[in-house]
Structures are given as structure tokens and as C-alpha cells.
Amino acid sequence: MAEVVQNLKKSRAKRFIEFIGSMELAITLLAALAIASVIGTVLQQNQSYNDYILKFGPFWFEFFEKIALYDVYAAIWFLSILAFLILSTSVCVYRNAPVFLREARRFRTNVQLKSLQTFKHQQHWQTEHSVADVMAMGSNFFHFLGMKSRTSAGEGYELIAAKKGGINRWGYILTHMGVIIICVGALFDSKIPMMVAEWSGNLKPETRNISASEVPDISRIAPSNASFRGNVQIPEGGKANIVFLNIRDGYVVQELPFAIELKDFRVEHYSTGAPKSFESDLIIHDDVLEKPIEATIAVNHPFIYRGFALYQASFADGGTKLDLNLWSVRDKAGTVLNKKTAIFDDFKIIASNETLSVEMNDFRLFNINGVMQPDGSTKQTNIGPSITFKLRDESGVAKEFVNYMVPVTSEGVTTYLSGVRSDPTQPFQYLHLPVSENGVEQFMQLLARLSDQAQVEKAAIETVSRTMGAALLKDQALAADISGSMLNLVSLFIAGGYEAVVNDVKARVPEDKQKAVIETYLKLLQSVVGTVYETMLTEQGHKSVNNADWAWFDIALQALNTLPYYGSPMYVELSSFEHIQAAGIQITKSPGQDIVYFGCVLLMIGVFFLFYINPTRYWLWLERKDDKTRILLAGVSHRHTQDFDKQFDRAAADFEAALNKNKR
């Protein structure tokens, strides 16, 4: 009884092993792996969790998070599939390899005539030669075919069994060992140790945006960690002895046993302005070194130090120092304030009783844009340095600005560009400020004059006397009335552009007269503003106002028209800067890499053995009957059967030719 139970148990275990090593399971796992990989590519991995919430809504966001779809390749279920695949393949190799090798070594001399006669490839002859002679000839024949052979004899027959290409079976072992070794090697480089540390509560990713030195110990990993892949940004002249490893929506700090200093970062450009190379000069400081090592890394040219590989991964601004002019365009319009700051710094300004915070986000030395040429084509042109900053109001709502330092010429007009948007997914809308010899100052002066009541009144009176004759102005009341309404017109325009003027007319004038009134008003407005401008030029010492001045004025009018919608109480002019860059360095330690490569070599060799070495077997069966030797040549190959048809026919013909040649 006990024995029966034992047997049953055994067979159940055996069946389980068989299942694990079965082709069905292997193919299912391969399919599962493929599907999981598809998910991982279609759903962009390791994005910020906010993006996912926006994309999927809170319900699906949470659901997808539960099944770890944001980092599929580190998900438990994904790793389980991989583990099962390794297990399944190992069992397969464990079970098959000995059988395959034994099979490959054997000559199959115990074959039966009956089974040879069922072969697709066979040929018969009869000859006068003795069995011994044909046996000798047969051995030579197989040698000629490059095959190994064994002879044997049975009741009334003699047999040669030959084979070649047994190494094909090694192909099976090499490919599958290769796959297993690759997976094992990859295991060494995986995030598993970190995941274990997290489960056991020894590690907790940090999600706050704090400086590395403030990160608590629970979110730090000691330098002894065997395998990781992380990034750190180092500004020029700065030093780092840590890297950040991203985990889901947080990060941990990996400490390094040495420090890296960035001496210099360089971007070289092609003549189109496209980047040609990114290089960083590094200095490595390590207590075990007598003096620091210097090394230069570039894309495709990492530097390996003590098993740590240092890569040029990205670049960013490293806190470029900025010298800004803040031109007020609302209260006290046209006045300027100088401000020294740097990228990543914040400062506050007070405008219209509101405190706004200015956050300097980014600086770019080059901006390669397609700029329209006079002939209509676009040409890639560098439009110079730019700064990006945000203006945040007290309620936390921010507008983003991008200001260019160098004027841009487009469609024959040269202006300073300042882009603005309130939604980061939308393109920038641009304000164009006209350029003169003194930069934006001329425009700001004009703006200041237009905001100055006395200046506008003076211009209004001058305009009226020029257009309607000075006599009209003798009437004091009328003069006051006219200048008052012109003043109103200008202040409407400065506060709300042409649109404000038009709306004002629409609110006050009957509909049938609106068009005419609007036309008159706009003309009036332009002449008043023009007069202010002329006055300014005269006071600046210009003798006459020429066409170029009026072209400038046209742009200025357009700028004044859009300025009310610009959304900022100031225009930020970048007057000078000291460029400081930062290099994004990726540092990895992957002890499994060489194991993986070894597995790859096995895999490659194995695949070629499997496909291009064709295992074949031949048998030569000899019988003496009626004073004749009966010969049966049979062959088999379980690969490349089409090719083997030809091979066998040729072999049989060669054999027959030899027989005939030796005919008595």
C-alpha cells in the first residue's frame, strides 16, 4: 500500500516537472512576455504620476497603479513570468540535454531492416562482390562523406551505421543555456535587491523635492550597492558624490565611494546648428587616489572607473547668472529696475498692489529656429540666447514667459520677442517690441510719454491745431473738451488696445454711425500718438522724422496694441549673463553585464549550430543471398529535408558508380 502511494506521489512530482519543462508552458510564457512587453511600450513608462492622473482619470490611474503598469518591467507579475521562463527552460535543458547528447553519440547499429525499409531515402543494389569487400568499400565511402561510422553484424547480415553533424544537438544546449545565462546575468543587474529592501522596510523612496543633503537615511543607499543605474546633474565647477535612482514617482539617493567634479561641459554644433557632440571634462576625486583623475566623456564614449561606468546622458542649465532689466509696462510705465539673479532662483516684485513671484527656469544659449527668409524659404537660424521664467500670482497661478536677448528679423521687421502662455501644453504667443539703437529703451520712453497726462494733452492740442486750425482752440471749453476726449482715447488704448477703443464707441454711439466714428477715432488716436512720438524725437535731437522712423512707429503701435494682453506688469530684458551649464551624468554599475554577454555568445553559436549543421545518418545493410550481395543504403535527416533529397541522391549515385567501376 505504502509503495503505491509513493509511486503515485512520484508520478505527480514527475508530471509537475514535465509540465514545467513542457513546450506548451514555454510557448504560453513567451506569449505572455510578449504581451506584457507590448503593454510596456504602448503605455509610456515611468512618467510623472500627475501625467497619468490627467490621462486616465483617478479611477483608472489607481487601478493601473495597483497592477504596476507604470513600471511594467519591474512589476512582480512580470518578473514572475521571467522567473518561470528561466525555470521552464532550465528544466527543459535538464531533461533533454542528456538524452540529446546520448542520442547524438550513439551510432544506432541496432537498427532493424524493417524500419530501414520504411525510410523515404533508400536505394537497393545487388552485386557479385563479397560482403566483406562491400563492407570495406562502405567504410571508405562514409569516410569520403566525412562521416563517422561503426560496423556491426547480426544474423545473416552485416551493417555499417554512419552519422555526422551531431554537434547540432549542442546547438540546442548552447541556445538554451545562453537564454538562461542571459536572464541570470540580467537578474544581477535588476532592481530586485532594491525592491526587497523596500518591502522589508529598509528603504523608502523620497517624493519631496528637496536637496540631496536633506534626504533622510531611509531613502539612501550605501556605496556598497552592487548594481544600480542612476543620474545626477552637476553644474560646471560643481561636485557630486551621489546619484538619484528613480523609483515610481519618487527617488532614492545612491551614495558613491568617490566624487565627480564637472570641470567643463561643451556642446559643439554643425553649421545647421544641430548638435554635433556633447562632452564633459570630469575630475574624479577618490581617497584611494594619489591625485585626482581627469577624464572626458561624450555620447558613445563612457568612462569606466572602479567598475562604475560614467555616461554623458543629458545636459541642462547649471544656474546661469543673469543681469536683468525689469521694464515696468503698467504702473509707472517705462521705468526700469536692474536685477541680478540666476537660473533656478526666485524673487518677488510688487505690481498694482499685488506680489508676484518670478521663477527663473531656464537659459538657452542657442535657439535654432526656422526663420522665414525674404525669398519665402525658411532657414535654420540661431536666434540667440533666451531665458524662460514663470510669473506666479498670489493664488499660485503661473504664466510662462520666454524672452530672447537678441532681436529677430522676420518679414523685414526687426523686433525683440517675448513669448507667453498660461498653459504649458499650448504654444507661446509672442509680443514683438520694436528695436532701436538703444534696444527697447526707445519704446519704453514712448510708453512712458503716453502714460503721462501732460505729454498727451500737449500732443492733443498740437494735433488739433495742426488738423483743424489753431483758431478753433481759442474756445477754451472746446479745447478742454477735445483734449479731454483725446486723453481718454489714449488711455483707453494703453489699457486695452484698439479693442477697448472700439468697444467704447460701440457702447456710446448708435449702430449706424459706429463705423464712421471708429474710423475717425482710430485716425485721431494714431495722430496723437504720432505727435507724442514726433515730440519725443525732436526732444532727442532728431532733425526730421524719416521713413525708417515711421516704420518703427508702426511696429510700436502694434506692440502697444498687444501689450495690454501680455499678462505681465513688466518686460524682462536680459542685458548680460554668465553661462553656467550642467551635465547630466548617468552612472551605472552592472556586474551582470559580462555574464549576459557570455550568454549572448553561447546563444549566437548555438543558433548557428542548430540551423546550419545538419545532422544526418546513413546505414548500409548487407546480406548474402543466392550468391549475390544485396545492398541497402538508407539515410535520414530531420532537418533540411529538401536539401537532403539531393544529398542522398548524389551519395547513392557515387556509391553506385564505385560499385560499377569495380565490377568484374
Partner: protein, 387 residues
């Protein structure tokens, strides 16, 4: 002399390796050696170790292919001569491309690609005509045209290589760096692979099917040209690596072979479904189609394995890890797993025929996504949006 002695088989001259190499092969090896030595003496000073290794590797590979597949020798010689001729015509100035008659109408890369495309279209039509009308002549013409088309394509790529340097010495690079160039390579490789099997199996009736996918690729190339894809652009830093020179071509042997196997799958299914149709009867036997399909997948799989491994090695150098689950990488793995499963079913379960043909066709869509879809729909490290 004893009888046994006289029965010795040795008299039939057991072939040695040397006896398998005839005088033509020796001439071929000699020519390649001379070409190599000449290149090294003229330009050796400008080449680094990797480039020398790649040069010698290519020479050895070409020698081996020529020895194994005799027709390729003539092809390679022609490609060599025409490439050198056009490069000579160009001299030091790209302007020659507009002034010189041969360059302008035949051999500048753009003209050569146009010829390649046109000939592939004509060859496709001609193959089908030959099959329908049972015309040996049409089939022979089609086969010639395919040879010439692949020749034009190859010469075009070689010339484009030179043109990139003439255009701007800073931009110069081997033309396997963007989708446009690799599509042309795909056409050439698939065409050559087909021609090899056509010669081996002495049957031209399945040509139309294979050329259909090449024609589709040519159609894409022509459309892509209208969007400025043919412009020579400098290499982004991530692509400035000798790995590119071997990783990309190895991949395309894989893609080409998989595409061919899918088209043979179509031929197989048609042959099986309309077995009695007199036109269909002329297609090769089902077993032969099945056999070529298997061989193409085996070849593709072997090269795809190498290409993926090379890709991993490149990634280890450029991205800081041999495997990053980048979409392109991951899709290469999916393609690989798909064909691994295909091969397992055939070799261990003995599956043959229609199911395998269907699977090969589905495989083409998987491959196509890895090859094109990833670039179009997914973003990752391979798209080089930024650094």
C-alpha cells in the same frame, strides 16, 4: 592487387576544402585582397582600429558569400566598378551630380534609387506576367531586372555615402542612419535574398509575391522622398558610433528575411487553396515553398539574434545599459520571441503548412510594427528627440 583494395573508395577523390575552391574563387579572393590592401595603404592612416576590423570583416564575408553563391561575385564586381566610377565622376564637387550626364541620369544616388524603384515595379509586373502567361521569357526578364534593381540600389547607397562627404565633410557618414536609407537597404537585401533562393531552387514563379513587398517598400520610399526624407543630414551624437555600421545592416537581413517568408506564406496559402488552378499549379511545390519559408525565417532569426545582441552592446555604450526596455528594443524582443515560438513549433512539434504560413504572415505585421510603427507611434530613446 587484392579485390578489397580495388574497391577502395579513395579513388573517387575525397573532396578536400581546397578542391572546393576553383580558379574563379581564387581570382575573387585575390581581387578582394587587393582591394583591401589598396584601401589600407591609401586610407589606412585615416582609419581607426574598428574601421580596419570592419573593412576586413566585410571582405571576408564578401569572399565567403561569393564562394558559396557564385552569382554574387559578378554582382559585387559590378557594384564595385559602378560605385568607383561614379565616385570618380563626382571628383571633389557635388555640382558634378547636376552637370555630368551619367551622374545626373543614372548614378547619382537619387537617380540610382529612382532606377531601382522603377525596375522593382517592372520586375514585379513581369514576374506576375510570366506566371500568368506561363512565359519563361517574361520570368527571365523579371529576374534580370531584379538583379539590376538591387545593383542600382547598392551603387546608389555607396554613392550616397560619398555624396554625404561632398555635401559637407562634417556630415559624412555611412547611409544606414535614418528610415529613408534603411528602407532602401531593406529593398536591396530582400531582393538579393530572393534572388539567392530563386537560383537555388531554379524556380522563378514565386518572384512576384516577394517583389510585391519590395514594391510596397519602394512606394513608401518614393512617398517619403516627397517629404524631404532624401536630404543628407548630419548624425546626431548618439548615432556617431561604429556599432551603427554593423547593428543596422544585421537587423535588415532579419527584417528582409522575415518579410520574404511572409510573402512566401501568401504564395503557400494561395497554392493550397487553388490547387487546381492552372496558373497556381506553376508555383513551386507546397513543400518547397514551406522549406524556403523555414530557411528564410531561420536565416532571419540568426541575424536578428546577432543584431539584437549588437544593439544591446551598443546600448551599453551609448545609453548606459545593455537593456533599457526602450520601445524599439522591446519590440525587437517581441519579434524575436515570435519567431522563436514559430521555430519551436516547427522543429519540436513538427507543425508545417498552412498554420505556419499564417503565422509567418502575422509575423510580418509584428516585424513591421517593430520596424516602422515604433518610430511612428511610440517615443523612446531610439527617436533621439533630444540628446
Amino acid at each position: 592487387m587484392s579485390e578489397a583494395e580495388s574497391l577502395k573508395f579513395g579513388e573517387l577523390n575525397k573532396p578536400t576544402l581546397l578542391s572546393l575552391i576553383n580558379s574563379k574563387d581564387w581570382a575573387w579572393f585575390g581581387l578582394l585582397t587587393i582591394a583591401c590592401v589598396a584601401t589600407l595603404t591609401l586610407y589606412g592612416a585615416m582609419m581607426d582600429g574598428y574601421e580596419v576590423a570592419i573593412l576586413i570583416g566585410v571582405a571576408v564575408l564578401t569572399a565567403f558569400v561569393g564562394w558559396y553563391w557564385k552569382s554574387s561575385i559578378f554582382y559585387a564586381v559590378c557594384v564595385g566598378i559602378f560605385s568607383l566610377f561614379s565616385i570618380w565622376l563626382y571628383g571633389d564637387s557635388l555640382a558634378a551630380g547636376e552637370q555630368n550626364f551619367f551622374l545626373k541620369f543614372l548614378l547619382s544616388s537619387q537617380s540610382a534609387f529612382a532606377w531601382m524603384g522603377a525596375l522593382f515595379f517592372l520586375a514585379t509586373a513581369s514576374y506576375f506576367l510570366g506566371l500568368m502567361a506561363n512565359s519563361e521569357f517574361a520570368l527571365n526578364v523579371a529576374s534580370r531586372m531584379t538583379w539590376i534593381a538591387t545593383g542600382f540600389g547598392f551603387v546608389g547607397l555607396m554613392v550616397r555615402w560619398r555624396e554625404s562627404y561632398l555635401y559637407n565633410p562634417e556630415y559624412g557618414h555611412i547611409p544606414v542612419s535614418n528610415l529613408y536609407e534603411v528602407f532602401i537597404m531593406f529593398c536591396i537585401i530582400t531582393g538579393l535574398m530572393y534572388l539567392y533562393y530563386e537560383g537555388r531552387y531554379k524556380n522563378k514563379n514565386m518572384g512576384g509575391f516577394v517583389l510585391l513587398i519590395i514594391s510596397a517598400a519602394v512606394g513608401f520610399v518614393f512617398w517619403y522622398e516627397t517629404r524631404g526624407a532624401a536630404d543628407i543630414k548630419p548624425l546626431v551624437p548618439a548615432l556617431q558610433s561604429y556599432w551603427m555600421k554593423i547593428h543596422v545592416p544585421a537587423n535588415f537581413v532579419g527584417y528582409g528575411a522575415f518579410a520574404m517568408s511572409a510573402m512566401l506564406g501568401v504564395a503557400y496559402l494561395i497554392k493550397e487553396k487553388f490547387a487546381d488552378n492552372s496558373v497556381v499549379k506553376r508555383l513551386p511545390e507546397l513543400q518547397i515553398i514551406d522549406d524556403i519559408m523555414y530557411k528564410a525565417i531561420a536565416l532571419g532569426f540568426a541575424f536578428f539574434t546577432i543584431a539584437t545582441i549588437l544593439g544591446a552592446m551598443w546600448a551599453a555604450e551609448a545609453w548606459g545599459g545593455y537593456w533599457s526596455w526602450d520601445p524599439k528594443e522591446t519590440w525587437a524582443l517581441i519579434v524575436w520571441l515570435n519567431y522563436a515560438a514559430w521555430l519551436h513549433m516547427r522543429l519540436t512539434k513538427g507543425w508545417r503548412g498552412a498554420p505556419m504560413a499564417w503565422w509567418a504572415i502575422i509575423g510580418l505585421f509584428v516585424t513591421l510594427f517593430a520596424f516602422l510603427g515604433v518610430n511612428m507611434f511610440l517615443s523612446g530613446l531610439h527617436s533621439y528627440g533630444e540628446l
